[in-house]
């Protein structure tokens, strides 16, 4: 193995792990103030919103991403199993990108 590459990998591992670990030192068993608690409950929804859009339409074929995304919206509202939502969204996106 190439030592430069190993060095890069170890460095990447360190700078990726530290931000994942640090918040753990902030949250002890003593808990947090109520407004922080409420804010933290909002974080997943805000993060998902940002992770989904506009990334989903920035692939090679935005229309395929859009079609797959809309499929997932409908199936998600119907509360189907996640694996099924994913499979059908992929199928629709593939079909659309094949024909358009």
């Amino acid at each position: 193995m190439n030592t430069t590459v190993i060095g890069i990998i170890v460095g990447m591992a360190a700078v990726t792990y530290i931000p994942r670990l640090l918040p753990g030192l902030l949250f002890t068993r003593s808990g947090v103030p109520e407004w922080v608690e409420k804010w933290l409950q909002n974080v997943p929804y805000a993060a998902l919103g940002a992770l989904i859009f506009p990334g989903i339409i920035q692939g090679e074929k935005p229309i395929a991403g859009m079609a797959g995304g809309l499929t997932a919206v409908v199936l998600g509202l119907l509360e189907l199993h996640l694996v099924l939502v994913m499979a059908l969204a992929i199928f629709v996106a593939f079909t659309v990108s094949y024909f358009l």
Binding site: A13, G24, L40, P54, G69, A93
Partner: protein, 233 residues
Amino acid sequence: MHEKHILRQFLTGARTGLPVAVGYVPIAVAFGTLATRASLSPQETVLMSALVFAGASQFMAVSMILSGVGGLQIVIATLFINLRHFVMSMAVHHSLQKTSLAWRGLLSFGVTDETFALLTLQDAGEQTRHTHVFAAGLIGMAYMGWVAGTAIGSLGAQVIPPAIGDAMTIGLYAMFIGLLMPHVRRSRRIAFIAVVSMILNTALSAVMSAGWAIVLSTVLGASLGLLGGASEA
């Protein structure tokens, strides 16, 4: 805790993590293929997935290695791309606050966009949710998908077209949407937060890197959500 009980929680976690593993495999295969074609040995390729476990930064690192960028720059770029996990990890650590710091230290290695989303949003029943054993099963499943997929891609580098990963990323987006929609349906406040963050991220990503735009949109979106807190549905 009874032993059988622990095993059941672990398996529930693994089953909950299955969508992430399914979504990771094709992308990891593509990463393994690209990295090995870009002159990394199969051992180095798998080592990167095993130690870093953060997709976007790994793809970036490989393309930077390929274009001859220095190691320090790659590590600094990795830090910035993965800083978004800091905010996500806050929510994960908080949901696991009854767990010892040693366990959380170990589990926090496995916080990615996807495991974070499942750990904080997927309803696996009050009994199992928020236990470190459940989280270990979920993260273990996702990690296995990522590392095994990388190995498959790396070993099959000569025969697998790297483009498959590109088309498959829609699967993880679909997972995010599938996780979000049931909550959106039940609460107008949650719908508000998600839509505001989408708008913020669209605007911000025009003027800064994608990683920073996600961090800022998450922080601002979650904060704006506090304003409408009284009208919880």
